[in-house]
Symmetry: C2
Subunit: 253 residues, 2 copies
């Protein structure tokens, strides 16, 4: 196994930037995940792994199939620099971001479109929820937190490896979807029908929006139908990831 | 308006401990909220406010009814010590925790019981969701994050002022609820019926459990019925606050 001891090593510097810096992730199309659970999920599709990074003294599970995967051992201080939390498990994977292909897109039938959701924890939870609900893709529009932010990755619990997460211009996506016969639903507080009254069928796109201001009015005007979740108590609204869960589980029922 | 300039002032020290220290909150039965939105929510029931703390230079909205509310002005450095975020709005309220009375309990019909959910953001989001769904109370069992942790308060977005949040021994609560004819539902992965098959009627208690291990088996054995949310994709599970939203909105439908 290759071993790196110098924190000044160019690869270590690259990894560190991938953890902390969105521009580095965007430019390289790569990212870092941390922890046994996420690395195990990544191993289900080895092509996306550039290398696995192991802190000295950490044993890999015997059952892991790591044939043809590059392993790199690093010292404690290097592992600490990459770690998100103080209780780090000392195992990481350097991965390649999912690249969408046009042929894939044509097969998708169920979509979550996300407009300007800023909290990485919310984005991650929504990716996890879309995965659980059996959707085919998540499209992140302008103003969204990065799908490959370490907090997003942690909240998503490995769902990045189960469902395509792509970036896009939502106005264009909505037009394309409608042209292809996919009905597009927005979430709104006015001119909206109660979500339980909607019958989506086998193909739909749901748009959810920013934590404070909701979906941009220009997008909301392009949907086929806008839906609302009733509030029975005194809360002003629901958390956007919770609302996404309630709607998606209604739509796929 | 009273003004405090010394960070060594005993009240400032108490406030600071209320922000950072659960023991101080437990002992005093008090807590601190931050930001215009939460303070405005607190003002809807002034009895719970000990005092409002304002950073020098911050103007209170003219429409706020602050008759008979104690206001304290503090310096920038003191406000900074109390602030949770760097973009603090410089307004806080020192509040009293909700005290449950037995007479209240008898009126409640819809309950969320929470077993050992450790993340304050999850607890806060669940309080907000229970409020939105029109529940009557949230009961936090052993091992839960503190309802008055600043992160819990922020995620709950003021729902602490709309719905009673109490601490309790869940095993006792389950027995009392069942004696009073309230049907108790757990969430489980085995010996459970699909959640859409449940007809709860006007009165129910839902138990949700720890992020990793779910509800403690001893509690799960005491429920009337356990329910499961199907996973259609490859995610192992849903985030606990998202699952709570899906279940509560099904139950109150």
């Amino acid at each position: 196994m290759k071993r790196i001891e110098s924190p000044q090593n160019a690869l270590v510097k690259h990894w560190k930037k991938l953890v902390t810096n969105r521009k580095e992730r965007d430019k390289s199309g790569e990212y870092i995940i941390e922890g046994f659970h996420l690395v195990e999920e990544a191993l289900k599709n080895k092509e996306q792994i550039v290398q696995i990074i192991v802190r000295e003294g950490v044993d890999l599970p015997l059952l892991w199939d790591i044939d043809e995967v590059t392993l790199v051992e690093v010292t404690q201080p290097i592992a600490k620099e990459l770690a998100e939390t103080e209780t780090s498990q000392g195992i990481f994977a350097h991965c390649k971001q999912y690249q969408v292909e046009d042929a894939d897109k044509l097969k998708w039938k169920k979509f979550l479109l996300v407009d300007a959701v800023q909290d990485p924890g919310n984005i991650g939870t929504m990716i996890r929820t879309a995965d659980a609900a059996g959707l085919d893709a998540v499209v992140l529009g302008k103003g969204c937190a990065d799908a490959y932010n370490p907090k997003t990755l942690r909240s998503a619990q490995g769902s990045h490896f189960h469902i395509p997460v792509v970036r896009g211009e939502l106005a264009e996506w909505i037009e394309d979807l409608k042209e292809n016969g996919v009905k597009v639903y927005g979430t709104a507080l006015q001119e909206a029908v109660e979500y339980t009254a909607v019958e989506t069928g086998n193909s739909f796109a749901l748009i959810v929006g920013n934590e404070g201001s909701g979906i941009h009015p220009q997008l909301l005007g392009k949907t086929d139908q806008n839906v609302i979740i009733p509030i029975f108590g005194q809360a002003e609204s629901l958390n956007v990831a919770v609302a996404t869960g309630i709607l998606l589980y209604q739509f796929v029922k």
